[in-house]
Structure formats: structure tokens, C-alpha cells
């Protein structure tokens, strides 16, 4: 099919661009690119929850915190990052299940409220349990992963390391959304009653989507630890959860590449809009409201809209309802 050939070559081009982007650039630019990749992972996870399963989670930054602190504590204790990271992921998955189980028992946006309140709890634990988390001062001096010949102490090497992790995470996500599970997510979003009548266990599928999405948050957190090498409770507050949520919405919830676009807008744009200073968030949030009024499907939704104008015959049957954001 011509369309898919075009798509694969486009993805290939993007990967090449991602590999070449930091070459010859300064450390700061590479740092910004790395945090773009990390937030893309967090947003990818939330996209599964919001875009595919249609539930709002306001705790993605808290899951990042769980991943970051777990990895930090274990690597400080001498574990290798490759061993510490899965522990953080598993912890996020389990906490996600425990949090989602009660919240998804009832109809309505209860997950949003539960995760909103959960943010506060995580923040309190990080701040109050100083013996474990370093309290307000946080943790410092976490080592970066070392793979013998390939040390990630150099900023550009750490970027390539993050790029590889992101690629694996994206491939796994691709597999999830194309697996029978992923199809069940979509069935659920497009027509919940019919999905249920066909034997899809709505609650279990939604719960799984949320728990997997949370684990992606944990992975992003596990990467923040070696990138910044300093973590403190303030970096994982509610504001950051909202930021990740807006990334998903701005990029286009329910689109596979939406999170990458959204994270680029949220992470890279402030760098270009330095001159707006403190007004940046004001302008940005106002733009989000305007966007939701006119193009609720996000930036990729605009692309799809334009494509449909040019080639109106193609209607994707699994995007009729979309993420119910339109």
C-alpha cells in the first residue's frame, strides 16, 4: 500500500533526524533534546490512558517521581541502572493497579479525582520521609549508566542512550496498541456498549491501560534521575502532571505520534519563546483553550483534517469517535 510506504520512510527520516540532531550542538541543546525524549515517553504512557482508554490521569508526574526515586535509591546503593529501572517500572505498574482499581469501579471521571489527590500524597511522602528521600533537599549524585565501552557520562552519549530506550518503548507501545488488547482499547473508546457485548471486559482493559501508562511514567522518571543527577519533590508536582496531560492533548490524543509532537511543543517552544518570560504559561494555556474549541484533536488532528480535505475518501474506521476529544 502506497500510504504505509510513505509512512515508513517518514518514520525512517525522523529517526535519522533524531540521530543527527545533537551532532555539533552544545551540551545545553543536547540536554533539551534528551528531556524532550523523556517527556515523550511519559506522554506516550498517558496517551494510552487518555487517548486510547478515555480516562484522565493527573498523576503522571507522580509516577515519574516513583520511577525516579526508586532508580536513584537503587543506583546510589550500587545497582546498575538496567537492574534498577525495571524495579521502578514494576512499582509504578502495581501502584497504578492499586489506584485504578477503586477509581474505575464507578462511572464518571473518578480516576481524575483520585489521581489528583494521589499527587498530593506522593509529594507529602517525598517531602516528609527525609530518611529515605532526602526530604526537601532531594537526592544528589546518582551515577549515569556505564556499559563498559559506552559510557553515558558525556551528554551526547546519554542522548543516544535515551534515544535507544525511547525507540524500544515506542516499539513496545506500537505492539500494545496493535495487539488484541490494543484493539480492545480502541473498541472500548469507539463503542463501549458494543465492545462489552462482544465480551471485552471494559474495567479490566481500562485498568490495564492505566497501569501500563503509569509504568511508562516510571520509565521516564528512571531516565530523569541519571540525566539531571539531582531530584527533589518540587520537580514532580501537580503542575508537571498537568504539563504532561497538555502535551498529550496538544499533540493529539489517540494518535501514536501525538505525544512526540506535544512534548516537542511543551519542551522546545519555551526555548524559542524566551522573550515572553513569565507570560509564557499564560499564552500557552490560553492557546490550549482556543485549540480545544477549534481543533480538539490536537496538532496531528489538524494534519489528519488537512489530509482528509485533500483525499476525502480515506476514513479510518477506528478513528470515527477518536479520543472523544473532538
Amino acid at each position: 500500500m502506497g500510504g504505509s510506504w510513505l509512512r515508513y520512510s517518514l518514520i525512517g527520516l525522523l529517526v535519522v533526524a533524531a540521530i543527527l540532531a545533537p551532532v555539533g550542538q552544545g551540551n545545553y541543546f543536547t540536554y533539551v533534546l534528551t528531556s524532550w525524549l523523556i517527556f515523550s515517553i511519559a506522554a506516550m504512557g498517558l496517551n494510552l490512558t487518555l487517548g486510547y482508554a478515555g480516562q484522565i490521569s493527573l498523576a503522571q508526574a507522580s509516577f515519574m517521581a516513583i520511577g525516579a526515586y526508586t532508580t536513584a535509591l537503587l543506583t546510589l546503593a550500587g545497582w546498575h541502572w538496567m537492574l534498577a529501572m525495571p524495579v521502578g517500572l514494576f512499582l509504578c505498574f502495581v501502584v497504578g493497579l492499586a489506584l485504578g482499581y477503586p477509581a474505575l469501579r464507578v462511572k464518571g471521571h473518578f480516576l481524575a479525582f483520585v489521581t489528583l489527590a494521589f499527587n498530593t500524597l506522593v509529594f507529602l511522602v517525598l517531602r516528609n520521609e527525609g530518611w529515605l528521600t532526602g526530604g526537601n533537599y532531594g537526592l544528589i549524585g546518582m551515577p549515569r549508566p556505564d556499559f563498559g565501552l559506552f559510557s553515558t557520562m558525556r551528554q551526547i552519549n546519554f542522548y543516544y542512550f535515551t534515544l535507544a530506550v525511547t525507540a524500544v518503548a515506542a516499539l513496545v507501545m506500537w505492539g500494545i496498541v496493535r495487539s488484541p488488547w490494543g484493539r480492545a482499547f480502541k473498541a472500548l473508546r469507539e463503542n463501549p456498549i458494543r465492545a462489552e457485548s462482544l465480551g471485552v471486559d471494559t474495567r479490566r482493559i481500562t485498568l490495564l491501560a492505566f497501569a501500563i501508562g503509569s509504568a511508562y511514567g516510571g520509565l521516564a522518571g528512571a531516565l530523569v534521575t541519571p540525566l539531571v543527577q539531582f531530584i527533589e519533590p518540587g520537580s514532580f508536582g501537580l503542575v508537571h502532571s498537568l504539563r504532561i496531560l497538555l502535551m498529550v492533548v496538544v499533540g493529539g490524543a489517540g494518535f501514536f505520534f501525538g505525544p512526540f509532537v506535544g512534548a516537542a511543543v511543551v519542551i522546545l517552544l519555551p526555548e524559542f519563546l524566551r522573550f515572553t518570560e513569565g507570560y509564557y504559561l499564560i499564552i500557552y494555556s490560553a492557546l490550549v483553550i482556543v485549540m480545544l474549541a477549534f481543533v480538539p484533536n490536537g496538532l496531528l488532528g489538524v494534519g489528519a483534517l488537512l489530509r482528509d480535505r485533500l483525499r476525502p475518501a480515506r476514513q479510518r474506521a477506528d478513528m470515527v469517535e477518536g479520543a472523544r476529544l473532538k
Binding site: 477509581a103 464518571g108 507529602l124 473532538k326
Partner: protein, 292 residues
């Protein structure tokens, strides 16, 4: 015992203010299926309208309060409905929820940038003096807050149950289609719900800000507590929001005094999960047979 009375009464006083915010939230939810995640900021902003009136325009306190009330009703009621809710509601509930979150950030950052990031002192509307009640020392402010907010709730309930407009609003909330057929001006009733919500938020703001100081980030906790109060009490009625608000106010104070001060802010999460597991329709709510 006297300490318990003291803690209990001041909890009731704060709780009654939470109830005002929760009632407004419930009204808007019922009238327009709008889950307003900016509700906390709606309580934070009116206090700054008052401060602008006092310190920028040099108005006397009562005029500043009146101006803030009118501005709140216009901006947080009318403009909120016309500019945010109406264009986005057709896109679906989740879009609107996210838009209100963006609105919350917008309000918070605007106050921070245009007024200031520091906590500002706010004039007390009622006297501060401590008085002696059943052996407990209670501040006059707490008692007045309790009476004022309960008075407002009584008035609102009378309005909703005893006047024609109030009943039309209830009909609209229960079944807009049938209400329309019976000749209710549904659009106007929904607008009233938004205006009343803004007025309640402003009143709550005037009462609670003297206790906490005016700060741009006040809305975060207030909003969360109001949502939880509405859910705990039962989403489909005013009594529920009132009971939920009072309950949270009292429990919050008791937790801080007798259990743990460090983790008092975790109380909403505990309450929320307990209520979902034990009584998802809320304490006073009627069951609607809700499952996913």
C-alpha cells in the same frame, strides 16, 4: 474536651466555606455537565479583585467587595460560560475538563505575573476576637464564617425549592429535554447556574482568604477539597455538598490535631477511596446504578 470542641467548631467553620465551593461545583456539574477543574482558582481570584480594589483603586472595603462580587459574576460566571464552556461543550466532556484545567493554569499564572507571587494579607470581614463558648475558646471569625455560610446555603435552598426560577433550574438539571417541552427557558437556567457558582465562589473567597492570606496557589488545595466534598456528600444534591464540606472541614482539623499534622493533606485521598469502595453514590446521594 474543650480542646475537642475548639477543634470541632473551627473545623465546622472552615467546612462550611468548603461547602459553598462544593455546592457551586455541583450546580454547574448538574446544569451543564461541566466538571470544573478550575473551581479552586475561582475561589482564589475574587480575593485578588478585592485587593486590586483596595490597593490600586483605593476604594473602601465594602465597595471593593461589591466590585469584586460583580467582576467575579461577570468573569467567572458569564465569560466562563460564553468563552470556554459553550464553544467546547459540543466536543465532549473530556475536552471541557482539560480546558478547565488549562483555565486554572491561566488564572493562576495571570495572578502570579500581574499581582505578585507572595502571599498577601487580606482584611477580615468579621472581627477576630476570641470568645468563650461551652468552655471552648472560639474565634468570632470562625463563628461568623459558620453562620454566614450556613445562612447562604439556607437562602440558596429556599431559592431553589420555593421560587419558580429555582424550580425551573432543578427541572433543567434533572431533565433538560422535558423541561424545555414544559416551557422552561433551559439556556437561561443554565446561565443562572454559572452565575450562582461564581457568586458562591466569590463569597467563599471573601470568607476564607482572611484565614489563609491571598496567594496565587490557594486554588490547588481548595479545588481538590471542594471536589472531594461534592463526591463524598453525593453529587446529585446540595445537601450532599453541604454535608461533605462540613465533614471534610471537621475531619481535616481532627486529623491535624490528633493523628498527624504532616499527612493531613492526604486526607482527601483516603476519604475519596473509602467513599468509592463503600458508598460510590456519596453519603446522601441516591444510587444511579453506576458502573463503568
Amino acid at each position: 474536651m474543650s480542646q475537642f470542641m475548639q477543634v470541632f467548631l473551627s473545623g465546622l467553620a472552615t467546612g462550611s466555606i468548603y461547602a459553598l465551593v462544593a455546592i457551586g461545583f455541583t450546580l454547574v456539574w448538574q446544569a451543564a455537565q461541566t466538571v470544573n477543574f478550575a473551581q479552586g482558582e475561582f475561589v482564589m481570584v475574587p480575593a485578588f479583585f478585592v485587593l486590586v480594589g483596595l490597593h490600586v483603586l483605593h476604594l473602601p472595603l465594602w465597595m471593593a467587595l461589591a466590585m469584586a462580587m460583580v467582576l467575579s459574576i461577570l468573569v467567572l460566571g458569564l465569560l466562563f460560560k460564553k468563552l470556554v464552556v459553550e464553544p467546547i461543550l459540543p466536543s465532549g466532556g473530556i475536552s471541557l475538563i482539560i480546558a478547565t484545567m488549562a483555565l486554572g493554569i491561566l488564572l493562576k499564572e495571570s495572578v502570579k505575573e500581574f499581582y505578585g507571587a507572595e502571599a498577601q494579607p487580606f482584611p477580615a470581614i468579621v472581627p477576630h476576637d476570641p470568645i468563650n463558648l461551652f468552655g471552648a475558646v472560639v474565634s468570632m471569625q470562625d463563628l461568623m464564617n459558620l453562620f454566614l455560610s450556613l445562612g447562604i446555603v439556607v437562602l440558596l435552598t429556599l431559592f431553589l425549592n420555593r421560587t419558580r426560577t429555582g424550580r425551573c433550574m432543578q427541572a433543567t438539571a434533572q431533565n433538560p429535554a422535558v423541561a424545555e417541552i414544559l416551557g422552561v427557558d433551559v439556556k437561561r437556567m443554565i446561565l443562572y447556574a454559572f452565575l450562582i457558582n461564581a457568586a458562591l465562589a466569590a463569597l467563599a473567597s471573601f470568607l476564607i482568604t482572611p484565614v489563609y492570606l491571598a496567594k496565587f496557589s490557594n486554588g490547588e488545595t481548595l479545588g481538590l477539597i471542594a471536589f472531594i466534598a461534592a463526591i463524598v456528600g453525593g453529587f446529585n444534591q446540595i445537601r450532599g455538598a453541604l454535608a461533605g464540606g462540613l465533614l471534610i472541614g471537621v475531619l481535616d482539623n481532627l486529623t491535624a490535631t490528633y493523628v498527624t499534622a504532616e499527612y493531613r493533606a492526604a486526607l482527601p485521598l483516603v476519604l475519596l477511596i473509602a467513599i468509592i469502595l463503600l458508598r460510590p453514590q456519596g453519603l446522601l446521594g441516591t444510587s444511579e446504578g453506576r458502573t463503568v
